[in-house]
């Protein structure tokens, strides 16, 4: 199979869906002439013209509202926020309008709107350009939340998202854009929403990881395998709707669970996953569920500080060992939540 980068895979998905359906269009800041700050929309303006690839002013609320209005009249907008952090300016349109349109009209309305936004932690951009806010949106009924970790998933999920008739927050990670991987060549490469994937099979401990942390978890799994610990890595791919069954199946096998998510720890996505497994699979567990998250602090800039706050491979490995405590004994470096400023 050919190898493509995550950013190229997203670009292919956009182009293919825009070729397939003339009602699909793209709008956002710098998406046209510049091809997107992170080059995801390169070549779109040239191929589809300014009617369908729209450079907007810096007006996040109006961009989101324009997405809602254009979807209501029967088009299929894809809007881009340059950084997920900027979505805070558009929350009214996303939370009060897009998410609720269908329900509060008694099912009269469909709202096919894809909201693409990169999460940019890890490149030193600081507190206003690094947040993983996925939990906010998972909390709101009416929105689906997608977070691919590989080029193949990025392409297949974006294509499915564009064809879906609901508002979808599609989260990309800046550190994944350059990652390459095999991507099927056929234009009907679709990954269904709501389906998790077991990225690595294992028998000893289940690690559920999201977005950027999936490759980290896979690296940890390889190194722990050398120590005789077989880690099963699951990527939910769609945070909402969640494929609970795949995770429960794995927990029944390994009896141990580590949850990894780039969001802050308190009330984060990992907390929700933890609650779901406690409800669904408590008696299958041999050890307390471990979660590995970013610390509850705004993201600092200095490399050493950023590293201390973000999820690392070491954190994941430690959490796996703690989850195995009844078999391995107490690890030298017990998993503790990253420090929180009080």
């Amino acid at each position: 199979m050919r190898t493509v980068s995550y950013a190229e895979a997203l670009n292919e998905a956009l182009k293919e869906e825009m070729r397939r359906d003339a009602l699909v269009f793209m709008m956002g800041e710098d998406v046209g002439k510049m091809g997107g700050l992170f080059k995801v929309t390169q070549g779109l303006l040239e191929e589809f013209g300014p009617q369908r690839v729209i450079d907007t002013p810096i007006s996040e609320a109006a961009i989101a509202g324009a997405g809602v209005g254009s979807a209501l009249v029967g088009t299929r907008p894809v809007i881009e926020f340059q950084f997920l952090d900027f979505i805070t300016i558009a929350m009214d349109q996303i939370v009060n309008h897009a998410a609720k349109s269908r329900y509060m009209t008694g099912g009269m309305v469909s709202l096919p709107l894809v909201i693409r936004a990169p999460v940019c932690a890890g490149i030193g951009l600081g507190a206003q350009h690094s947040q993983s806010l996925e939990a906010w949106f998972v909390h709101v009924p009416g929105i689906k939340v997608v977070m691919p970790s590989t080029p193949a998933d990025a392409k297949g999920l974006l294509k499915s998202a564009i064809r879906d008739n609901n508002p979808i927050l599609f989260l990309e990670h800046r550190l994944l854009y350059a990652q390459t991987g095999p991507v099927p060549e056929e234009t009907e490469h679709l990954v269904p929403l709501g389906l998790a994937e077991v990225k690595r099979s294992g028998t000893d401990v289940t690690v559920v990881a999201t977005g950027r942390t999936v490759p980290l978890a896979l690296t940890v799994a390889s190194s722990l395998s050398a120590e005789g610990i077989e880690v099963e890595v699951i990527d939910p791919r769609t945070l909402k709707p969640l494929d609970t069954a795949t995770i429960v199946r794995s927990v029944k096998k390994t009896n141990r669970l580590v949850i990894v998510n780039d969001g802050c720890r308190t009330c984060g996505y990992a907390a929700e996953l933890m609650a779901v497994i406690m409800e669904e699979s408590f008696f299958d567990l041999d050890a307390p569920i471990q979660r590995v998250c970013a610390a509850d602090v705004p993201m600092p800039v200095a490399a050493a500080l950023q590293k201390a706050v973000m999820v690392s491979e070491e954190d994941i490995a430690t959490a796996c060992r703690v989850a195995m405590v009844d078999k391995l004994g107490r690890p030298g470096n017990p998993s503790e939540p990253k420090e929180t400023q009080t």
Partner: protein
């Protein structure tokens, strides 16, 4: 309800039937709103409603310019726009009462009445929330190659939201077919316009976006029609958006929920003397377009059709409990 007025052309010499239809619509809106006051006293309204009494000429005059393919976005005070656009008052009232035959099956209530089939993209519970939606409708309709115009209603309070500025700028740079219709009723709940706005006229803000602006007597249905119709023609020709400011006043409190009235009683009484319906009624009689008996007949017809709407709504069963959990996703 007849929808002739929403479908008719834009001849400058309006036929008497059209002028009488406007009278009927204004009376229908007022009767609908007055009925809500009594239903609320009877404890039949589950939530709230924001009444349009006193402002009827704006919705009727503006919607008279709408064609079948056009769209509108409305506000929390949206019953007038819906009735003027030709929505069924029976299903509207059922929605206000939270019944299963309401437009939103009892899930939306007064603030979310929507009818996509008539291009009514929704009332809106967020002040200023409908303005960017109208911009999107303009973009979408252009992409689809349509000739629709979007009629975007909002109050003067919404003009202090960021969404107003972002949206007018965006509509102007893309020359979108949107008519921005500000209903300036002088009070944003308890906030007087003069204290809340740095400019004395909303229409002055049109200059910020280099779009045409016009200030209109919002209690004169014909004046509203003429201004909106001009703006809609510009939009249809592709020359872009306009901003209209229709000056009017709400007779009732902010909502049926609001108990405190801080507006001066004298001001309320002054505006009641400028009643848009009474003014229009006198004009129709003066010009010989209607006789007192004809208008009386229309009044009776309005009352009868409201009665049947209210009966329809009251007889509609409450929604089944199971439906609470349905319809979040398509």
């Amino acid at each position: 309800m007849k929808r002739d007025a929403t479908r008719r052309g834009r001849s400058p010499d309006l036929p008497p039937d059209t002028l009488l239809e406007w009278y009927r619509q204004m009376c229908s809106i007022r009767a609908f709103e007055r009925e809500i006051v009594s239903l609320n006293k009877a404890g039949l309204i589950p939530g709230t409603a924001h009444l349009y009494i006193g402002m009827e000429a704006i919705a009727v005059g503006a919607c008279a310019s709408m064609k079948r393919e056009d769209f509108l976005t409305s506000t929390h005070r949206g019953h007038g726009h819906a009735i003027a656009r030709g929505l069924d008052p029976g299903r509207m009232m059922a929605e206000v009462l939270g019944r299963s035959d309401g437009y939103c099956r009892g899930k939306g209530g007064s603030m979310h009445i929507t009818d996509i089939s008539l291009g009514m993209l929704g009332a809106d519970g967020i002040v200023g929330g409908g303005i960017p939606v109208a911009v999107g409708a303009g973009l979408g309709t252009r992409l689809k190659g349509g000739r629709s115009v979007v009629f975007c209603f909002f109050g003067e309070g919404a003009c202090n939201q960021g969404s107003f500025h972002e949206s007018l700028n965006m509509a102007a740079i893309y020359r979108l077919p949107v008519v921005f219709i500000c209903e300036n009723n002088l009070w944003a709940l308890s906030g007087p316009f003069a204290e809340m706005s740095a400019v004395g006229s909303i229409v002055d803000r049109a200059a910020s976006y280099e779009m045409p602006g016009e200030k209109v007597d919002g209690n004169d249905v014909e004046a509203v029609f003429r201004a909106v119709d001009k703006a809609a023609s510009r939009a249809r020709k592709g020359t872009g958006p306009s901003l209209l400011e229709c000056l009017s006043y709400r007779w009732e409190g902010h909502s049926i929920f609001t108990r405190v009235e801080i507006r001066p009683q004298q001001e309320i009484e002054e505006w009641k003397r400028r009643d848009p319906i009474e003014r229009y009624r006198s004009r129709l009689l003066e010009r010989g377009i209607a006789t007192p008996s004809l208008l009386q007949r229309i009044d009776l017809e309005v009352a009868a059709s409201l009665d049947s709407a209210v009966n329809f709504a009251k007889n509609s069963p409450p929604p089944d409990k199971a439906t609470a959990f349905e319809g979040v996703y398509s």
